[in-house]
Amino acid sequence: MKYLKPSGVALLLLAATVLCMALPALATAAGDVPPSIVYAAPYKDMPAGWGGQTVIVTFKPALHAGKLDSVVPGKSNLWINGKEYPKAVKALSEASYGSSLQFSGFPAVPQGETRFRVVLVTASGQSASKAWVFASTGKSGVSLIDFGLMREWFGFIVKGAPIAIYVAVGSSVLAIVFGLLGALGRLSKTMSYREAWKKYHSWRYMGEYSLRLVPYWLATLYTSLFRGTPLLLQIYVVYYAVPAFIDLMRTHWALWNHVPYPSAIASGIVALSLNYGGYVTEVFRGGILAVPRGQHEAAWALGMKNRLALRRVVLPQAFRVVTPTLGNYFISMIKDTSLLSVIAVPEILKRAQLVGGRFGNFMSPLLVAAAIYWVLTIFFSFWQMKLERRLERDRKAN
C-alpha cells in the first residue's frame, strides 16, 4: 500500500507549517472590541464580607485594531452614592484571560445600602460602565463549600465550556488529519529491506526504496515521539518554543516581524492535536488494515490506482471501523483541554483557579468545574452511544 510519495510529504509538511502559522493569525484577527465588565465587587453575599475599603472591577480586555487596548486608570472613574472619587488609588492588572481595575484609598463606606457606578476608558477612547446597588447582609467568613460563591461564579466558570469545546473540536479535526497522514505513512512500508533485496538484487533499487520509505520513517518518528512524551510537556514546549523560534527568526529575517506569536489557544490546539494525532495514527492504521484485501484487489482490478482506491473504497470503510474509537478519543480530549490551564487558556479549570485564588476558596469553584466537565462528557457520551448504535444497526443491515 504505497499511498504517500516523498514529494507529497514535502508538500504536506509545507501546508502544515503554513496552517500552524495561519491559525494564530486567524485567532487574533479581530477589529475593535470594547472592554466588557464581567463583574464588580462588592457584590451581594460576598463570602468574606466587605470591609468598605476596595472596589474591584473585573473585565474582559478591549481590543483596538486587533491589539490589546489598555484601560487607562487616570481616565476611569468611580462613584459611590453619587459622589465621584477622582483621587482614588487605582491598580490595574491586565491579561488575556481576565483583567481587573482595583479602586482603593477612599473614605470607608458605611454598611447598608450603597450605590456604585464605575466607568472604564481605554487608551483609544472605548469605554464600558456598570452601576449597581450593594447592601451588606452582614454575613462573613469562608466555608469549605461555599454555595453562594458557587452560585455567583458559576456563570464565569461555565464560560470556559465553549472554549473547551472549541479547543476539543479544533484539536480533533487536526488530530484526524495528522492521524490519517501518520497512518498512510506507517502503511507505506510494503516490505522489509531483506525482501526488497531479494526481489530485485539492485543497489539502485535499494536507494529508491529508501527514499520511498521516508514517509514511513517520518510517521514512525512522529508517533513514537508524541506517544512517548507527556502531553503536559508537549503543551509547554509548543507554547514556549514557537515564540522563541519566531524571535530567533526575527533576528535574521525582517519578514518574520509580520508573523505574530501564536495565541495560547492556538498553541494549545496544536499541542493537543499533535499528541492525539499520534494515537489516532494507530487507530487509522488498524482501521485501514481491517478493510479486507479483496476490496483493494477489486478496486485495482477495476482500473483504480492506489490513491483512488484509497479515497473511494478503503477509507470510507475504514472510517466506519474507527468512528467509535474516535468518539472515545474526543471525550477524552474534552477532559484534556483542562491541561491548557497551565498556559493561561481561559477554559473551565483556569477560570475555577482564578476564582479560587481570588477568594482563597479553591474547593467550591473546582467542584463547579468538575460538574461542568462531567455534564459535558455525559452529553457527548450520549451522542457517541447513539452514533455507535446507528453504525451497529447499519452493520447488521449490511
Binding site: 477489486a298 482500473g303 483512488l308 473511494r312 473504497v313 470510507p316 443491515a397
Partner: protein, 287 residues
Amino acid sequence: MTAKPTETAAAPSGSQAPSSDELVKVERLHKAFGDHQVLKGIDLEVRSGEVVVLLGPSGSGKSTLLRCINFLEEPQKGLIKVGGTEVICGSRGRDYRKAVMAVRMRCGMVFQDFNLYPHMSVTENVIESPIHVAGVPRRVAREKAAALLEQVGLSDRANYFPSQLSGGQKQRVAIARALAMEPELMLFDEPTSALDPELIGDVLMVMKDLAASGMTMIVVTHEMGFARDVADRAILMDDGVFLEQGTPEQLFGSPQHERSKTFLRHIIKDNGSAPEPVTRDDEGRVV
C-alpha cells in the same frame, strides 16, 4: 465491446507476427511466493471470443495464473500481452506501471468472494469505476448500469446494498460491475465456489449468456458441466505447469496422463464437486 487503441509499453513490440485474432498471450510465465515456485513457465494463447476453462487440483496455480494476467499477483519472469498491451514481467518503473494499468483496463475480473463495495448500493458499485476511472458522465454510466443489471436479471435490486443480497445475486452484480468497464477479456476466479448449490445456476446462466455473446473468458472453476457445455478449451494444470489441454470432450473423454485421469476421476466421482475439502464439498450439481 469498444475497440481500444493498440499500445505497447515496457517492451519492444512483438517480433513475431501475432496470429490473426489472438487476444491474450502469456509466455514463459514464472511466479514464486518466497521460495515456493507456483507457476513454472506457463505459455498460453487465447483467441478473441474463446472460452478457456482452467482445471486442476488445489494449489496447482490456476488461480495464481488468472491473478497474474491482470497483475493482482506480480509475476517474476515472463511476458503477458492482453489486446495490444504487452508487459515484460519483473520490470518496474513508470512505463511498467502504465502498462499494468492498461492491462487491467482491458480485463474484467470476478472473484470467488464477490468483493462488492459494502458501503455502496448495487448501482453505485457498478458505476463507480466508469465514472472515476473511465470518466464516463454519471447519467450515461447510470443508463449503462441499468442495462447491465437488466442483463444479469437484477433490475429490481438496483438500490439494494450488497448485504441485502444473496450470494448468487452478489456475484451477478460483480459480473455487471466488471462488464461496466467494457473489458475485452473476463477473468473468473472460482465464481461459484462460495455459493450455496441452489444459487449456482443463476450465475452460470449469466456466464453462459456472456460466452454466447462472444466475450473472451478465462474461467477457473470446478463446474464440469459448465466446462463441457460452454468452454472451447479446457486446460488441466498441476504443480505450476499445463498438464494437458484440449476440447472438453477430448480432455474429459480420453485424458492422456495418469495424473489427469486421477484428478478427473475424483471430480466425476464427487459429482462435479470441488477437489478442495474446504466448505465446498457438497456444492454441487452439474448444470
